[in-house]
């Protein structure tokens, strides 16, 4: 099956079998390894990417369902060699330890900040509720997102 979409700001024309998910397309079809496979059941959130600015579970959504849409993966967060403010904030505040949850956390947070530039702690916790981290205990992740919020004081 032929697929045309926008991937990290660039047009992308590719092929994928009909039973592939977005995660299969990214990792196996396009060799983008930033998006992780954790549970495969929609629970852990490490496969989160953005489709038209909204978070989706790459492990649950069929590749055919992102035809014509704009996908953003963790590889697409940096611009002209500069990290996204969220990435810098995560690095500076120790919000990544093993890093396995980090791509999903960053994209779920990116979607939140695009929609709500000045979130409260509760807003951040709710937006990240579906992203599990087995290392950090979440506090530093929430701090890092709040610090990167464009509307933060």
């Amino acid at each position: 099956m032929k697929l045309e979409l926008t991937l990290n700001g660039r047009p992308c024309v590719t092929e994928a079998p009909g039973h592939w998910t977005v995660l299969d397309l990214l990792r196996d079809g396009l060799n983008l390894m930033g998006t992780k496979y954790g549970c495969g059941e929609g629970v852990c959130g490490t496969c989160t990417v953005l489709a038209d600015g909204r978070p989706i579970r790459a492990c649950l959504v069929l590749a055919a369902h992102v035809r014509g849409r704009a996908l953003v993966t963790v590889e697409g967060l940096e611009r002209d060699g500069r990290l996204d403010p969220l990435q810098t904030s995560f690095a500076e505040r120790g919000a990544a330890q093993c890093g396995f949850c980090t791509p999903g956390m960053l994209l779920a947070a990116k979607a939140l900040l695009a929609q709500n530039p000045a979130p409260t702690v509760d807003d951040v916790r709710e937006a990240l509720a579906g992203n599990l981290c087995r290392c950090t205990g979440y506090t530093k992740i929430v701090d890092a997102v709040l610090a990167a919020a464009p509307g933060a004081r």
């Binding site: 099956m1 959130g45 489709a51 909204r54 492990c59 579906g130």
Partner: protein
């Protein structure tokens, strides 16, 4: 891990979708958002030869008011139902329940039609739709039919759909004037879990404060989402004091048929029905919530 390989069919009209579903060779499944179907395939619970996607049928995705009725296309996403001003203003109970499903990313993909057709007992929107007395529009090779939501759930993960049928829309009658409503979801482990117990309620008071219309819907407490007619009967015509509310919660706990699973035992579920039915009804009585 890859999915069991299937052929994906992407019809762009409803008749073509019905055609793709009808041949009897092999197993065919519809996919809407895929948030329920994909894990089922991955876990090997279903092995369809053919998966028919509904994503190219834009008429199935609409969320619009039609006179007093809310028309929800089967492909309306839970996230869109939660945020649509039409729904928030006219059907706040449904918006509240849709917002409690799982996590943001699941709501962005998951559809209302998929939620009902999956027929999980622990659905968040189902108790709200039961209270709102919604109807399900179904299309089949032989034509269309309408099934009240209360008759749509037939058993554990079982619906009234016949093979080859597709849910096209959900029609929700107007929320009664002056109604107070609310949805509470109790989870025993983590906020984004499915409900251990979900309670939706809608009440309308007459001028003397008596409840002349009382509707209670429950999720997670029986093989399917259910209404709680005995609890409703305890309250109908009453201006309920605390004792009456407690009696209604007790009736709800008795008419439920909870199962035990990893989230909680049947006894614990029954106890949580008592607690959450009473708390929700108390807050509706005291005006802490309104529609």
């Amino acid at each position: 891990m890859r999915l069991y390989p299937f052929d994906l069919v992407e019809p762009d009209t409803l008749p073509a979708a019905l055609d793709a579903l009808s041949p009897l060779d092999g197993e065919a499944r519809l996919v809407a958002g895929g948030t329920a179907l994909v894990p089922m395939i991955r876990l090997g619970l279903v092995k369809p030869d053919r998966v028919i996607s509904l994503h190219r049928l834009p008429e199935l995705a609409e969320v619009r008011r039609d006179g007093g009725t809310l028309q929800l296309g089967a492909m309306a996403r839970l996230a869109d139902i939660d945020t649509a001003p039409t729904v928030r203003e006219g059907w706040p109970l449904l918006a509240e329940a849709a917002r409690r499903v799982a996590t943001p990313a699941i709501r962005v993909s998951g559809t209302i039609g998929g939620n009902l057709c999956y027929a999980e007992a622990a659905s968040d929107p189902a108790p709200a739709l039961l209270c709102l007395e919604a109807e399900v529009r179904v299309a089949g090779a032989a034509g269309g039919r309408t099934v009240p939501v209360v008759d749509f759930f037939r058993g554990f993960y079982e619906t009234a759909l016949a093979p080859g049928e597709i849910v096209t829309a959900i029609r929700v009658p107007a929320t009664p004037a002056g109604a107070r409503s609310g949805y509470v979801k109790f989870t025993s482990r983590s906020a984004e879990d499915r409900p251990l117990v979900g309670v939706a309620a809608l009440v309308v008071r007459d001028s003397s404060g008596r409840w002349d219309d009382v509707r209670i819907g429950l999720g997670g407490v029986a093989p399917t989402p259910i209404r709680a007619p005995r609890a409703e009967a305890v309250l109908r015509g009453e201006a309920p004091g605390d004792a009456t509310l407690r009696a209604a919660a007790e009736a709800a706990a008795r008419e439920a048929e909870p199962l035990s699973d990893l989230m909680g035992s049947a006894d614990y579920r029954r106890e949580m029905i008592r607690v959450w039915v009473r708390r929700l009804l108390t807050s509706l009585r005291d005006g802490a919530r309104s529609a």
